[in-house]
């Protein structure tokens, strides 16, 4: 092996890499928040909507879960403009991520909702809460508490899969790496550093989510 590693190119564009990482984080957080809103609405529709609505939501979930993220990105970025809706790469990336994570999160939240016992709902109604209040306080809150760990690992998966949006040249971490690579040709050095950055980001967020879980989502009785 007579290859000499040269990390100067990576070090020289350190701030550029950090900008990319920051956009990756913002994209992922933004997509997760919007995706959760989509997911809560879809889970509500799937558990208590009329039949056509349930059918539509099921179709959405199955289509998204059984096709590759990359193809979904291409459909949104190249397909929508042909129907007259122009999108910047970053915007297309965000929409693709919301649509994608929305489907997975719907299934997670639905599982949480179905874990709530029927008696709880009846008790809520008996106490005079209106149906929406029952949904909000009796169903949704405990359900989210139950599925919080699953949602956080879904977020990590989302953040890692966001590297795929580099295929449409959004400005996130992987695209930044591609740009530096095409100017300096130090491919391996750049990608190993960027891979390490993703690993650090994934570990940081799982640590952060675990801390939030202990502080916010634990019942007082469970807290040690």
């Amino acid at each position: 092996m007579n290859y000499s590693f040269q990390f100067d190119a990576v070090i020289a564009s350190w701030d550029y890499l950090l900008t990319g990482a920051w956009l990756t984080i913002r994209l992922s957080l933004g997509a997760m928040v919007l995706g959760l809103i989509v997911a809560i609405l879809c889970a509500l529709g799937k558990t208590s909507g009329p039949k056509p609505v349930r059918w539509l939501i099921n179709a959405y979930i199955e289509v998204i879960r059984n096709t590759p993220f990359l193809v979904q990105i291409f459909l949104i970025f190249f397909g929508l403009p042909s129907m007259g809706l122009m999108l910047s790469p970053d915007m297309a990336a965000l929409i693709a991520m919301v649509v994608n994570v929305g489907a997975y999160a719907t299934e997670i939240i639905r599982a949480g909702i179905e874990s709530i016992q029927k008696g709880q709902v009846e008790a809520g109604l008996a106490l005079g809460l209106r149906p929406l209040q029952v949904f909000r306080y009796v169903i949704l809150k405990p359900a989210l508490r139950t599925v919080y760990p699953a949602l956080t690992s879904q977020f990590i998966l989302l953040m890692l899969s966001s590297s795929v949006v580099s295929a449409i040249s959004a400005d996130e971490l992987t695209s930044v790496a591609n740009n530096i690579q095409s100017q300096t040709f130090r491919s391996f050095e750049i990608y190993i550093v960027v891979t390490a950055m993703y690993l650090v980001m994934a570990m940081m967020f799982s640590g952060l989510f675990a801390a939030i879980h202990r502080l916010v989502f634990t019942y007082d009785l469970e807290r040690r």
Binding site: Y3, N66, F69, F74, G79, S161, S163, V194
Partner: protein
């Protein structure tokens, strides 16, 4: 001259499905063999082996699959090996699959009740016999539904091989789109073809899960 989307373009996409399937099959077979070793390592009684397997899984589950493919592709050049996109995609997906299958199967091995391990060693079985005759046959039943479910994830993952330039279904879609400029039609068909491959597997995984769900647990 812009070509229009005709039956020939559709056949081109359809024939690219075989490369998606070939890549999935290779990654699954390779990943299954390596994944079994990882799962055994992860449940091993020897601590350094356990730590190494845990680290391997953490790295592959904590980094994007696309980066892993890039590293295999460009890393080969560092080692002075001429790697074509096909080999890089196969190797990268195999490594990735081995980490995911290893973690899935670890759970299955550990789901076998403690008493079974104790009974087997009380009967005088050493590690190889204990695994082969007592633990693994019981773990396989638990492992079947999530493994089929993972297969869906793997097939979808092969689409990333398009980015390093291997012509499977997604890359074929890009090529046809570049010639016909009908992105919505082309990528809808590509998505539909993936759906046809993945949906039956998803349904099968759900059915297996319902069937093998331990009663009264």
């Amino acid at each position: 001259m812009i070509r229009s989307f005709s039956i020939n373009e559709f056949y081109f996409l359809l024939s690219a499905v075989q490369w998606t399937l070939a890549l999935s099959a290779i990654a699954f077979l390779g990943g299954a063999i390596a994944g079994l070793l990882i799962a055994l390592g992860r449940t091993s009684p020897i601590k350094p082996v356990r730590l190494a397997a845990t680290g391997y899984i953490q790295v592959f589950q904590g980094t994007p699959l696309l980066m892993q493919l890039f590293l295999v592709f460009f890393g080969a050049t560092v080692l002075g090996i001429d790697m074509n996109p096909w080999a890089a995609a196969a190797l990268g997906l195999t490594l990735n699959a081995s980490a995911f299958l290893g973690e899935i199967w670890r759970g299955c091995i550990q789901s076998v009740p403690r008493g079974q391990w104790e009974a087997a060693s009380a009967l005088g079985l050493r590690y190889p016999g204990l695994m082969r005759y007592v633990i693994l046959p019981q773990a396989v039943k638990v492992a079947l539904p999530p493994t089929v479910g993972y297969l869906v994830q793997l097939i979808k993952g092969t689409s990333l091989a398009a980015i390093i330039g291997f012509t499977e279904l997604t890359r074929a879609g890009q090529i046809v789109n570049n010639a016909t400029f009908q992105p919505f039609l082309v990528f809808s068909i590509v998505a539909a073809l993936y759906f046809v491959l993945c949906w039956p597997l998803s349904l099968l995984a759900a059915r297996l899960e319902a069937r093998y769900a331990a009663p009264g647990r």
